[in-house]
């Protein structure tokens, strides 16, 4: 925490990740198949201020989860990078200070059934990061810290000897949160943390996450496809489509006055609870194959406002009336 707190804690600049999905070498040689590259994330830039939440939304395959994995260092970016608190995070991940950086950035995964080891007790699950990072001196301190972490997510110290299968989905997700909090991180990357949960349980987990943010000044990157949830938790919202950000705005502006045609369509696709029997105008068409994205703006085949320039030229993300947007029709 050497830098001033004025500058954003997390700065992603032109992050890109390309996967090589070519056929095996022999098939390429024998059948003359070309190399094939999948641009999962293609130049994404954003900042997150300390203590704030940026939400990324978009449909399956738009690259949200790849961004999450790039931010925590599970993937190496093909291009661009991440500056965390003034430091180049990916350089740090490779250096001797990797542990220090990992302590400060942690992740919560989507499926609490798959992300917890079924053969470990809760104490071992939450205690592992503490031991791994050398944050505790002895067994007594370990127990005390684990108990404290469990209480901070609304579970009890008596749960320590239990196994994951003895908990419901919501409780398991709280265990994942406690584990992520063990190293006292400043930045939490949450990849669809509530989409595997029932609504009443989702509310419990979202409330805990907001309480923790307030108490500890955590910074969140929150990934979700559920716009109502995003509206509830976030300060800023980035809308992604086929590996690129199409609109980035603060929450109130984005929901009150969406600019990008894709954002408008997504917002219109949400069922309205108290407006029973309302007919919607659904988004037309489907997400194109990312292996073979459309030319120009990748949204143009589904866009009602598409013109000739959209088919030939890819719009850049530009500042416009206080938001950032990539659209020829708007800017």
């Amino acid at each position: 925490m050497s830098q001033t707190s004025q500058q954003p804690l997390v700065v992603a600049h032109d992050l890109a990740k390309t996967f090589d999905v070519s056929a095996p070498w022999l098939n390429r040689v024998l059948e003359g198949k070309p190399r094939q590259l999948l641009h999962a994330v293609d130049g994404v830039s954003f900042e997150i201020e300390r203590g704030k939440t940026l939400a990324l939304v978009g449909e399956s395959g738009c690259g949200k989860s790849t961004v999450a994995r790039l931010l925590v260092g599970l993937y190496e970016p093909t291009r661009g990078g991440l500056t965390f608190d003034g430091q180049d995070a990916h350089a740090a991940f490779k250096s001797a200070d990797a542990r220090q950086m990992r302590q400060r950035i942690q992740m919560i995964f989507q499926d609490p059934y798959a992300s917890l080891n079924p053969r470990w007790t809760v104490e071992a699950i939450i205690g592992e990061p503490l031991q791994e990072h050398g944050l505790i001196k002895d067994a007594a301190e370990l127990k005390a810290r684990v108990a404290e972490l469990l209480q901070s997510v609304g579970l009890s110290a008596l749960d320590m000897p239990k196994y994951p299968h003895q908990f419901s989905g919501g409780q398991r997700q709280r265990i994942s949160i406690a584990r992520a909090l063990a190293t006292a991180p400043e930045f939490l990357v949450c990849d669809e943390p509530t989409s595997a949960l029932d609504v009443s349980v989702q509310a419990q987990v979202l409330n805990i996450m907001k309480d923790l943010q307030r108490e500890r000044g955590l910074t969140y990157l929150f990934i979700s496809h559920n716009l109502a949830v995003v509206r509830h938790v976030s300060d800023q919202v980035g809308v992604m489509y086929l590996g690129r950000l199409v609109e980035l705005a603060d929450k109130h502006t984005l929901f009150a006055n969406p600019q990008h045609p894709y954002t408008k369509m997504l917002l219109d696709a949400i069922p309205k609870m108290h407006d029973t029997g309302r007919a919607r105008t659904p988004v037309q068409g489907e997400v194109p194959n990312p292996l073979n994205p459309p030319s120009g703006c990748s949204f143009h085949p589904r866009c009602p406002q598409a013109t000739d320039i959209c088919k030939s030229e890819r719009p850049a993300l530009r500042e416009f009336k206080g938001i950032r947007i990539a659209c020829h029709a708007v800017v």
Binding site: V199, S200, V201, K210, P271, K272, M273, H274, P282, E286
Partner: protein, 322 residues
């Protein structure tokens, strides 16, 4: 007359440690052409209710009591062969994952014509024409070409359209749709829900729509049944249940959903979780989580009674009525 009547349905799973009662005394009916929503959290018994109606309850699960009547005829005690004639012809089914509902080795045309020929007295050529018309109805472009494609050549949303066409193939009176949009993206979800509503209206089919998404229920259904721990907590017209819920569980469920119109710092939450089947509390199953529970709730189980415009299983309303 009601198209489907479910009377006091009980479904049990016998096991080594005693019998688990997964559905307990479920009663409702569906009128011709009506869309009934069934909501609840995981494990509430939504899918089991659907499976019992279409006769696809997986052993050792069994209907242990009550009756299911379709057009006044009992269908809960039919054997597998008799049930096969009803399934498809009178009741169509749509499941969550469109990829597993289609056979990957056959073209969709073959799967559609097979269903049509099995149930309707038509020639193969007519069946193919019908199949093409169905695909057209469900919004698949160039159906004459697409009919000879295999399921893997379709995207998720398109596959679900094929599954809807398949469910409608023999003009059933009732469609049981179990989480038909859960595996799909939000933008595709809206398309599929709109389509389901439209084609069922055009073909005069009633729908039992099982989902955990209240938003989908709100805009699709005429009536809704809220399930909790294997029982109906509340049933009534959809706008009544959503805007003026009578049961504390329904009220809690509604309040816990983040909505687009209000700015709340915290969501209302229902503490705790739904009880497991082997540990259903005495009295009302919701009493440990209920903010309004009183003495009677701990000892006596409430039955569905009329509560304003809806029917709810809650002693709060019993007291008012008495």
């Amino acid at each position: 007359m009601s198209l489907l009547q479910v009377k006091n349905l009980v479904v049990e799973f016998p096991g080594r440690h005693g019998t688990l009662r997964a559905l307990d005394d479920i009663s409702f009916d569906i009128a011709p052409g009506e869309i009934l929503g069934v909501v609840g959290e995981s494990g509430a018994g939504k899918s089991l209710t659907g499976a019992s109606i279409i006769g696809l309850l997986e052993p050792p699960g069994r209907v242990a009591g009550g009756q299911i009547l379709l057009e006044g005829q009992r269908i809960d005690h039919l054997n597998a062969d008799q049930m096969r004639h009803i399934r498809g012809r009178k009741i169509g089914a749509i499941f969550q994952d469109p990829l597993t509902s289609l056979n990957p080795l056959y073209t969709i045309g073959r799967q559609l014509t097979e269903t049509i020929l099995a149930h309707l007295p038509v020639s193969p050529a007519e069946a193919r024409q019908r199949a093409i018309a169905l695909l057209k109805d469900t919004g698949i472009s160039a159906p004459e070409e697409r009919i000879d494609h295999y399921p893997h050549q379709f995207s998720g949303g398109m596959r679900q359209r094929v599954v809807i066409a398949l469910a409608l193939a023999a003009e059933p009176k009732l469609i049981v749709a179990d989480e038909p949009t859960t595996a799909l993206d939000v933008s595709i979800q809206a398309q599929i829900i709109g389509l389901l509503k439209k084609v069922c209206k055009d073909h005069g089919a009633a729908v039992m729509l099982i989902t955990h998404d209240m938003g989908v229920i709100a805009e699709t259904c005429d009536r809704v049944a809220v399930l909790y721990a294997g029982r109906i907590a509340e049933i009534g017209p959809v706008h009544q249940v959503i805007n003026h819920p009578a049961h504390p569980y329904t009220a809690g469920l509604m309040a816990s959903i983040p909505d687009m119109d209000s700015d709340r710092e915290r969501l209302n939450q229902i503490d705790g979780a739904m009880p497991r089947l082997n540990a259903i509390p005495k009295g009302c199953a919701f009493n440990p989580r209920c903010p309004k529970a009183f003495d009677k709730c701990l000892h006596h189980r409430p039955e569905l009674t009329s509560a304003g415009a809806t029917r709810a299983a809650c002693w709060l309303h019993e007291e008012v009525a008495a």
